[in-house]
C-alpha cells in the first residue's frame, strides 16, 4: 500500500466507526447537533473528493467522478438523508481504495513476471571488481557475472564456461551453454560458473531493457475497445449529468402544471441515485487493466505482444500463414538417409565428409555433422571444387567425387536416382558409383503438434509459403499437416500470395504471418499481424513483428492466440456487464425503484467485480 492508500484506509475506518456509533444515538430531537455530528465522518472520509470537485469546477472540468460524488452526497445531506450521504461517500472511497490496491498489485505481479531487469553489474577495472548501476557501464567494458546472478548487459563471453537459464525471457527453462566467444544476452541467469563478459551494447539497448520497454509501452497502442471506452466516457458522463438534472426538475414541473403535488424531494433523490450509479470508473479502469494483464501474462510465457490493438487482432486470427524455413523447419540441413552400395555406410560417410572437409556450405556442413568425428584435413589432397556440381578430392589415396547428378555425368559415371525428397548427394570412389546421401531440412519438434493445436483453437486455414521445390515443400506439409502449400516463390511473390489471401478474407477474419524475422520483413508488416519466431537476440525480428516469440517453439503460436482470446473475452465481459448493470440500475433509479444502496452496488460493486475479472487475464500459464 502506498502512503496515500494507508491514509485513506485510516480515514475509512475512522468514519466507519463514527457512523456505527452515530446511527444508534437518539438524535431525532436535535437536528442541528445531528447535522454537525454527521458532518464529522462525512468530511473525514470525503474532504479530498469535495476539494477535487471544487477545483474541477474552478478549472471548468465539471463532469468527473468527484463532481458526481460531491453533488450526490451533498444533495443527500441537503435532503436530510445523512446516513445515505455519508455511506455513499464511504463506499465510494472504499471502491477507490480497492481499485488502487488492485491496480498496484497487478502492476507488481507483472513486474515480477518480467523479472529480468538487472539491478547491478560487477565491473572489472584494473583487476578490481566494483558493483555499479548497469546504466553506467560503457560498451566494451569487462563485467563479471557470478553464478546465480542475472547477466546485466548483452556481450561476448571472454572467459569462463557456464550454463544459462533463459526462463525469464522465453518462459521455458531450457539451459543454454555459454563458452568463450559466445554471444550472451541480458536477462538470462548464470547458473554454474563465473563468466567474464565484454559488453557489446549499452544498458538501454540491451535485450532485457528493450523487452521491458516493449511490454511497458504495449498498452500505449490502444485497442479499438479502449478507444471505444474513452469516447464512451467522454459522452456518457455529461449525458448522465444532464439526464439527472432533467430527472430532478422536469417531472415535478410537469406534475405542478397538471395540478398535482410536485414532490421535489422525491425526484431529486432519484436524480442523485442516478448520479451515483452513473460513475464510469468500472469500465474505464478494467479495460486497460485487462489488456495490461494479458500482455504481462503473455510475456511471462515468452510471447511479446506489442500493443493492445495487436492483442485484439490476434484474437480474431482465422488464417495462419507460415514461412517454411525457420518456423516449421529448423533451417539447417541434416543427412536423413544413406543409400550405400558396396562400401559400408560408415566408410562412405567418412570419405564424403573428408572430401567436403574444406567447404563451409550448409550441405557440406551437414555431411560433416553426420560423420560426427573430427575431419583430419591432412588425409585429403588435390581438392577440386566444381561450381554447381560438387567436389573431387583424393582421400587416403582414393579418388572421391561428391556432388549432384551433374557431377556424376561430368565424370562419366552412371548414378542411380533416388525416390526420396530432399537434396540428393551422389558419391563415387575411384570412378565407381558408391551410392548417395539424402539431405533435408529438419522439421522442428512440435511442428505437427502446433498445426493440430491451431486447428483445435479455431484457426480455419493454415498455409505454408516457401521458395523451395514443390516436392520438398509438399512432403513437409504432409508431415506436419499444413492445409495449403505455395512453393517455388520468390520473396516478392510471398507478399503477393499474402495479399490475395487478405483480399479474400472477411472483415473479422484476420491473417497472421509467421516468419523467422530474418528476410521476411515485408511480409511480416503486410499481414494483419506479423509473428516473428526465435527472436531471442535478433533485434531485426523484434523490430519488424507485432508479436514476438522469444524462442522458436511453434506451439507458442496457438498459445498466443488463446491468450488473446481469453483477454478479449474478459474485456467484452466487463464492457457488457458494467454497461448492462448500470443501464438497468439507471432505469430502476429513474423509476424510483432503486434506492441509494443499490446505486452504491452499481457503482462500487460493479467496479470491484470488473477489476477482479480483469486480473484473471494474468493467469495464462495453462492455456
Amino acid at each position: 500500500m502506498t502512503k496515500k492508500q494507508k491514509n485513506l484506509l485510516q480515514r475509512v475506518i475512522a468514519a466507519g466507526l463514527m457512523m456505527a456509533v452515530l446511527v444508534f444515538l437518539p438524535l431525532k430531537e436535535y437536528p442541528v447537533l445531528r447535522f454537525i455530528l454527521f458532518m464529522v465522518p462525512y468530511l473525514t472520509v470525503g474532504h479530498d473528493i469535495l476539494r477535487k470537485a471544487w477545483k474541477g469546477i474552478l478549472h471548468r472540468q465539471v463532469f468527473d467522478e468527484c463532481f458526481l460524488m460531491a453533488v450526490a452526497t451533498i444533495g443527500a445531506m441537503a435532503l436530510g438523508e445523512y446516513t445515505e450521504g455519508v455511506a455513499v461517500m464511504w463506499f465510494y472511497q472504499i471502491g477507490e481504495l480497492f481499485q488502487g490496491i488492485a491496480v498496484g498489485r497487478s502492476r507488481k505481479s507483472i513486474t515480477e513476471l518480467m523479472d529480468i531487469r538487472p539491478d547491478y553489474a560487477n565491473i572489472e577495472k584494473e583487476g578490481e571488481i566494483s558493483r555499479v548501476d548497469p546504466d553506467d557501464v560503457e560498451v566494451g567494458s569487462l563485467i563479471v557475472v557470478n553464478p546465480g546472478e542475472k547477466i546485466p548487459l548483452d556481450g561476448l563471453v571472454e572467459e569462463g564456461e557456464s550454463v544459462l537459464n533463459t526462463a525469464a525471457l522465453t518462459g521455458e527453462s531450457i539451459p543454454r551453454k555459454a563458452r568463450p566467444g559466445d554471444e550472451v544476452i541480458s536477462g538470462c541467469i548464470n547458473m554454474s560458473g563465473v563468466l567474464k563478459i565484454r559488453t557489446t551494447k549499452k544498458f538501454d539497448e540491451s535485450t532485457a531493457s528493450r523487452i521491458l520497454d516493449l511490454v511497458e509501452n504495449a498498452s500505449s497502442r490502444k485497442s479499438r475497445s479502449e478507444q471505444f471506452i474513452t469516447k464512451f466516457a467522454r459522452v456518457y458522463t455529461p449525458a448522465v449529468c444532464y439526464g439527472a438534472l432533467a430527472l430532478a426538475f422536469v417531472p415535478p414541473l410537469v406534475r405542478l402544471l397538471m395540478g398535482q403535488a410536485p414532490l421535489f424531494g422525491d425526484w431529486i433523490y432519484r436524480a442523485l441515485t442516478f448520479l451515483v450509479i452513473s460513475c464510469p470508473c468500472a469500465i474505464v479502469v478494467s479495460i486497460p487493466l485487462s489488456f495490461f494483464g494479458g500482455i504481462g501474462g503473455a510475456s511471462s510465457q515468452g510471447i511479446l505482444i506489442k500493443g493492445s490493438n495487436f492483442m485484439e487482432t490476434l484474437s480474431q486470427v482465422k488464417t495462419v500463414v507460415f514461412d517454411k524455413t525457420g518456423t516449421i523447419t529448423r533451417g539447417d540441413f541434416e543427412v536423413i538417409d544413406i543409400h550405400h552400395g558396396t562400401l559400408p555406410r560408415e566408410e562412405l560417410l567418412e570419405l564424403a565428409a573428408h572430401a567436403e572437409g574444406h567447404s563451409s556450405h550448409p550441405i557440406s556442413q551437414s555431411i560433416q555433422r553426420a560423420y560426427g568425428k573430427k575431419v583430419s584435413l591432412d588425409r585429403v589432397s588435390q581438392v577440386e571444387e566444381i561450381s554447381g556440381k560438387g567436389v573431387k578430392a583424393t582421400v587416403d589415396g582414393k579418388r572421391v567425387a561428391v556432388g549432384n547428378m551433374r557431377l556424376m555425368e561430368h565424370q562419366g559415371i552412371e548414378g542411380i536416382d533416388c525416390h526420396e525428397t530432399g537434396t540428393i548427394i551422389h558419391t563415387a570412389v575411384d570412378d565407381a558409383y558408391t551410392g548417395h546421401l539424402v539431405i533435408a531440412d529438419r522439421i522442428k519438434d512440435g511442428a505437427a503438434e502446433a498445426i493440430e493445436d491451431l486447428k483445435r483453437t479455431g484457426v480455419r486455414e493454415t498455409v505454408m509459403l516457401t521458395g523451395d521445390l514443390k516436392e520438398t515443400a509438399e512432403a513437409v506439409a504432409r508431415q506436419v499437416g499444413v492445409g495449403r502449400v505455395c512453393a517455388e516463390l520468390l520473396p516478392d511473390q510471398k507478399v503477393k500470395v499474402l495479399e490475395e489471401l487478405l483480399a479474400k478474407a472477411g472483415k473479422n477474419e484476420k491473417i497472421a504471418f509467421v516468419g523467422d524475422g530474418i528476410n521476411d520483413a515485408p511480409v511480416l508488416s503486410r499481414a494483419d499481424i506479423g509473428i516473428a519466431m526465435g527472436a531471442l537476440g535478433s533485434d531485426a525480428a523484434i523490430e519488424a513483428a507485432d508479436v514476438v516469440l522469444m524462442d522458436d517453439d511453434p506451439r507458442k503460436i496457438g498459445k498466443a492466440i488463446r491468450i488473446a482470446r481469453k483477454c478479449l473475452r474478459i474485456v467484452y465481459e466487463n464492457i457488457f456487464f458494467a454497461i448492462g448493470v448500470k443501464l438497468i440500475c439507471l432505469l430502476l433509479g429513474a423509476l424510483g425503484i432503486a434506492n441509494m444502496w443499490l446505486a452504491i452496488f452499481a457503482d462500487v460493486g460493479v467496479m470491484v467485480l470488473c477489476v477482479l475479472n480483469a486480473i484473471r487475464c494474468l493467469r495464462v500459464k495453462n492455456l
Binding site: K55, H59, Q61, E216, N217
Partner: protein, 72 residues
C-alpha cells in the same frame, strides 16, 4: 523527438484526460499516457523547446486533473 516521463495519477479516466491535455499543448506532436505503467510518452514537434513545452504540459494536466504529477 520522443521522450518518456514517469507520472503519478490515481485513476484511469484521469490518465486519459491527461493524455488529451498533453496532446493539445503547443509543441507536442503526439502524446500517449499508459496508466498501467504510469508513463507518459511525448513526441515533440521539430525544434520545440522540450523543457518549456513540458512545463506547459504539466500546467495543462493540472487543469484537467489536479491530483497528478509528471516527473521530469
Amino acid at each position: 523527438m520522443k521522450k518518456t516521463y514517469k507520472i503519478e495519477v490515481d485513476c484511469a479516466n484521469c490518465a486519459n484526460k491527461m493524455e488529451e491535455a498533453a496532446k493539445k499543448t503547443a509543441g507536442v506532436k503526439d502524446a500517449a499516457v499508459n496508466f498501467m505503467a504510469l508513463k507518459m510518452k511525448v513526441e515533440f514537434e521539430d525544434g520545440a523547446d522540450v523543457d518549456a513545452v513540458m512545463q506547459e504540459v504539466i500546467k495543462n494536466c493540472k487543469v484537467v486533473e489536479d491530483d497528478c504529477q509528471i516527473f521530469l
